[in-house]
């Protein structure tokens, strides 16, 4: 499974990349340090169905384009596979309003409080697979 990690913090990107690779479920891991770069990457990959990331782990508080701005742009993007891309917010915020706002977006399947760990990631993965099975039916 291809995963896209979007976070402006280099420390988190290092930790999360290492953790995700250790779990051994990733085919390809993309890392972007802001929302604009992530959108650019998705546009670039959209012609190739197999390379499109299926899970986006998205930070909220980022300069230039924050997580919610990214989600707004993703919703507006002309993309055939959009319903097959699942977003898990990955944030340090414990403010319930951030969580509520996140779940208002149809792509958001999970809200993970940092730090990411194996248990949290597999919970998200489980939710994604359940959703994929429903889509197949």
């Amino acid at each position: 499974m291809n995963i896209l990690l979007v976070d402006d913090d280099a420390g988190f990107n290092f930790l999360n990349s290492r953790l995700l690779r250790r779990l051994g479920v990733i085919e390809h891991l993309f890392v972007c340090d802001n929302g604009a770069k992530a959108l650019k990457l998705i546009r670039k990959l959209k012609s190739n169905q197999n390379s499109i990331p299926k899970i986006i782990l998205l930070d909220i508080k980022m300069p230039q384009m924050n997580g919610f701005d990214f989600l707004d742009s993703l919703q507006e993007m002309d993309l055939e596979m959009k319903e097959e891309i699942f977003v898990a917010m990955l944030s340090s915020s414990v403010d319930p309003t951030d969580k509520l706002k996140s779940y208002a977006y149809p792509q958001v399947i999970d809200y993970i409080e940092k730090p990411l760990d194996a248990g949290k990631f597999f919970t998200t993965l489980h939710k994604v697979r359940n959703k994929q099975n429903v889509q197949k039916i």
Binding site: D9, K61, D117
Partner: protein, 193 residues
Amino acid sequence: MNHEVTDHLKEGFQIISKDWRYVYLNDAVVVHSRFKREELIGRKMVDVYPGIEKTKMFEVLEHCMENHLSANFENEFEYPDGLKLWFELRVQPYDDGLIILSIDITSRKNNEVLRSGYVKELESLIDYTSHHIRQPVTKILGIKGYAESGELSREDLLKLCEILNKSILDLDHVTRNLTERMLEVKAKTQAVD
């Protein structure tokens, strides 16, 4: 009308004639007006308070007068010397004029403004805590979790130390900042008290 009851009400009570002259004012309205009773009775509102005819309050009064309607509203009244007080006004048609009941709500309004200011400060502190303080804390927790989850190479170890070092410095910075901001809020609160 027998004014014995209305004269000493805490609520302001005034009667305005159809041609906008003060017909009756109880003691509370006289205090609110900052004039003497004899300086008001028989005079037109627009002569006592020049420019009042351009205010939103007067617009409502005119509407009530012309259409024999009631209205309840809150109004910030600006006196000629610039003093501003908030009043809750209840307007009722009476014969060809108006009865206006008024209560000074300045203190309540000021409290509302203060409370709204505190809520904004609090929201800003929640946002700061939730994002800026939690950030280095969760990173330190992440380092701990990653270190416990398997073997670490020397390269990993060096990188983790680097991240840990940065997180500690960030935490130092944001907690100092938070303390400064909380002291500012405390100073503002004390200034109000």
